[in-house]
């Protein structure tokens, strides 16, 4: 395998496309090495244990996810088997308590792991992070019976979870949701619909935010609805620009009877639970972006700028491109630092955690999308071909500026926090 390394410079550009799996794996690993060691070193400032996690996650991503990334995207496959393999390594409930089957790690540990996993496939890693978020919500806000009932199977990914907050009529204005839950005896009757639910239709456990009380956030409760509950049905599978390895469907509730014992926390606590879940996931959502950006960055450097020649020289000799690369690298390091800071603030339950997470999400998703987009530009025509991974990353990352709180909402949160502190 070693001799293939020198091979790169001898191949005419078009044959780069038809490289075998082993060469691609090898080069992914070569890139991983540079990513880990370079100026943009993802491994700086991590404890030995975190470096182990990162290494393991990188290896898993390179061997189990990366080779299938394009196929999962094209055929819209929900990679259940691969995710279950990941769960065997502890990725099903990374920050869930060990006594219910989780790995009990910190937010920072988790972000390091997701960072590395997303080099294998953004879309799948994003779903794994949503699954983890739901698992955590039950672990943190559920009572003993609920935790013991749901968490172990979520940790092993024998069952998968979905997070249902958004509705056709309420996206950014999540607190205005209309799905009702009327109490009748020992059951809630749920009526309404949820939109854009990741995993919807293929998952087993649905965490649904619904209205048990009056208007606004205080009237919202959080209920766990299990698959095959009568009254639970799904819309058609949405056709998306990216994130194709996870199905997205509307979740429809028509006189759906859910036992009161499936309610997480108190009535009226639902919105708070939902937001806590999302806040926790913010760093991960952005982390995924960040690492995609880094991956693309290096992909451009390795495969393209150093190899492609125009006007008699390698592209890497072009000053404009050098400057562009420098700007991209600077934004990447800034992104990583902001993300890590937000993750630490979250872990330490600092008062600025929410603002920091919002800032991180805003900055990282915007910047990393731009970086990936610029990387695509640098690849020229080849960047537009589906043979190259760049375009998949651009498509997969684009949604991160929208979901889990649009970047506009992030600005609202940050502004509110700034203005309330002053005066």
């Amino acid at each position: 395998m070693v001799c293939l390394k020198g091979f790169w410079s001898f191949l005419p550009y078009s044959t780069v496309i038809s490289l075998s799996y082993t060469t691609r794996l090898y080069s992914v690993c070569a890139m991983r090495d540079t990513i880990l060691n370079s100026l943009l070193a993802a491994a700086h400032g991590l404890s030995d244990e975190q470096k182990e996690f990162q290494k393991m996650a990188f290896d898993f991503a390179a061997h189990e996810m990366s080779p299938h990334m394009a196929e999962w995207d094209e055929k819209e496959i929900f990679p259940v088997e691969t995710m279950r393999k990941a769960a065997q390594l502890g990725f099903g409930g990374i920050y869930v308590q060990p006594e219910v089957g989780g790995s009990g790690l910190s937010r920072l540990d988790t972000s390091v792991i997701f960072e590395a996993l997303s080099t294998g496939c953004v879309s799948t890693t994003a779903y794994i992070s949503i699954h983890n978020m739901c698992n955590w919500m039950i672990d943190t806000f559920g009572n003993t019976e609920q935790r013991e009932k749901f968490c172990p199977e979520l940790c092993t990914m024998d069952k998968f979870a979905s997070y249902c907050l958004t509705e056709p009529g309420s996206g950014s204005d999540a607190a205005s949701l209309l799905t009702t839950a009327k109490l009748e005896g020992d059951h809630y009757i749920l009526n309404g619909s949820k939109a854009f639910i990741s995993g919807g239709g293929d998952t087993d456990v649905y965490i649904v935010m619904c209205r048990t009380g009056g208007k606004g956030p205080k009237g919202i409760s959080c209920v766990v609805v299990e698959k095959d509950t009568p009254g639970l049905s799904f819309g058609k599978k949405e056709k998306k620009v990216g994130w194709n390895s996870q199905p997205t469907r509307a979740v429809i509730l028509e006189d759906c009877h859910v036992p009161v014992t499936n309610r997480l926390g108190q009535e009226g606590q639902g919105f708070n639970i939902a937001m806590r879940g999302l806040n926790g996931d913010l760093p991960f959502v952005s982390m995924v972006c960040y690492l995609m950006a880094i991956y693309i960055f290096f992909s451009s450097r390795f495969y393209h700028l150093l190899v492609r020649k125009q006007f008699g020289e390698a592209l890497s000799n072009n000053q404009f491109l050098q400057f562009k690369l420098a700007e991209m690298a600077t934004k990447l390091v800034a992104s990583r630092l902001l993300l890590r800071e937000a993750a630490v603030a979250l872990q330490e339950s600092r008062s600025d955690a929410v603002s920091l997470c919002s800032m991180a999400k805003l900055f990282v998703t915007d910047e990393c999308f731009n970086i990936c987009n610029q990387a695509l530009q640098m690849h020229g025509g080849y960047g537009y071909l589906k043979d190259y991974a760049v375009q998949q990353f651009v498509r997969d990352i684009r949604v991160h500026q929208i979901l889990e709180g649009t970047n506009e909402v992030m600005r609202m949160i940050i502004a509110r926090s700034l203005l309330s502190e002053s005066g």
């Binding site: 395998m1 090898y26 070569a30 090495d33 244990e49 996690f53 290494k55 390594l89 060990p98 792991i113």
Partner: protein, 253 residues
């Protein structure tokens, strides 16, 4: 029951582009990514598998080198070894360390730990010596099953299928024995998150070669390290006679 010693070597990661130091005394190792030798990973995996099948009771991971090798021992612990031994060797001794010194250390440890098996990788990807396993067996006067692609324990004997030039050779050797792992012996597992965490609590004992009565003096001196010569462009000729003439002219024939 029995105890197995597994050797793990910290080497430059296989995916790294190797560069020779300007003074030609060796390759650049500072700031370069290192990881466990792939054949050592296979050795660890085999040992852990034997433990899971209950043929052996304890797996001890051993590495020789400066403080950084504890990372490699931790990886072995995360894969399922029970404890580790770090034999401290640093500076000039480390640079001059070769299979002879390592095999002396392993022979001494195998006796001290009363191991029934020593499992090593067949070779390290940095020096490609393929000597340590064989030398260790010789020093201990134990049978050896090298280039193992399949290992089966049967009471006090081990059946080893070896990959040799002619194909596959099956031998039966009695324990205690030394085995070296070849590529197709198994596929190393990923360390799981819980195991990585548990590994933190596992013990790594420290010792020096002198504690084992081993002298680290090397009988080999590295004179110079060079990059492989850059490939020159070829020359096209029209006829076979031209070819022969050119080959004669440049002294090849």
């Amino acid at each position: 029951m029995s105890r197995v010693l597994v050797g793990v070597k910290r080497v430059i990661d296989y995916a790294v582009k190797i560069r020779v130091k300007p003074d030609q005394s060796g390759v650049v190792t500072d700031g370069v990514k290192h990881s466990m030798n792939p054949f050592c990973e296979i050795a660890v995996e085999e040992a852990v598998k034997l433990k899971e099948k209950k043929f052996i009771k304890e797996v001890v991971a051993v590495s020789c080198g400066p403080s950084q090798v504890t990372e490699t021992i931790r990886t072995a612990l995360a894969m399922g070894c029970d404890r580790g031994i770090h034999v401290e060797v640093s500076g000039k001794d480390y640079e001059a360390m070769g299979p002879l010194q390592i095999s002396k250390i392993f022979a001494a440890l195998a006796k001290k730990e009363e191991a029934s098996l020593v499992i090593l990788g067949k070779q390290a990807i940095d020096d490609d010596c393929n000597q340590t396993g064989q030398m260790t067996a010789a020093l201990l006067d134990w049978p050896q099953g090298t280039f193992a692609s399949e290992v089966t324990i049967d009471g006090e004997t081990v059946k080893v299928v070896r990959e040799i030039d002619g194909g596959l050779e099956t031998i039966k050797i009695s324990m205690p024995a030394v085995l070296t792992a070849d590529l197709r012996l198994n596929t190393p597992r990923y360390a799981t998150l819980p195991n990585i965490m548990k590994a933190k609590k596992k013990k790594i004992a420290n010792m020096k070669p002198a504690d084992l009565g081993v002298d680290m003096v090397s009988r080999v001196e590295v004179l110079r390290v060079d990059e492989p010569p850059t490939r020159l462009a070829g020359v096209k000729v029209e006829t076979v006679d031209d070819l022969v003439a050119k080959l004669k002219a440049n002294g090849t024939i």
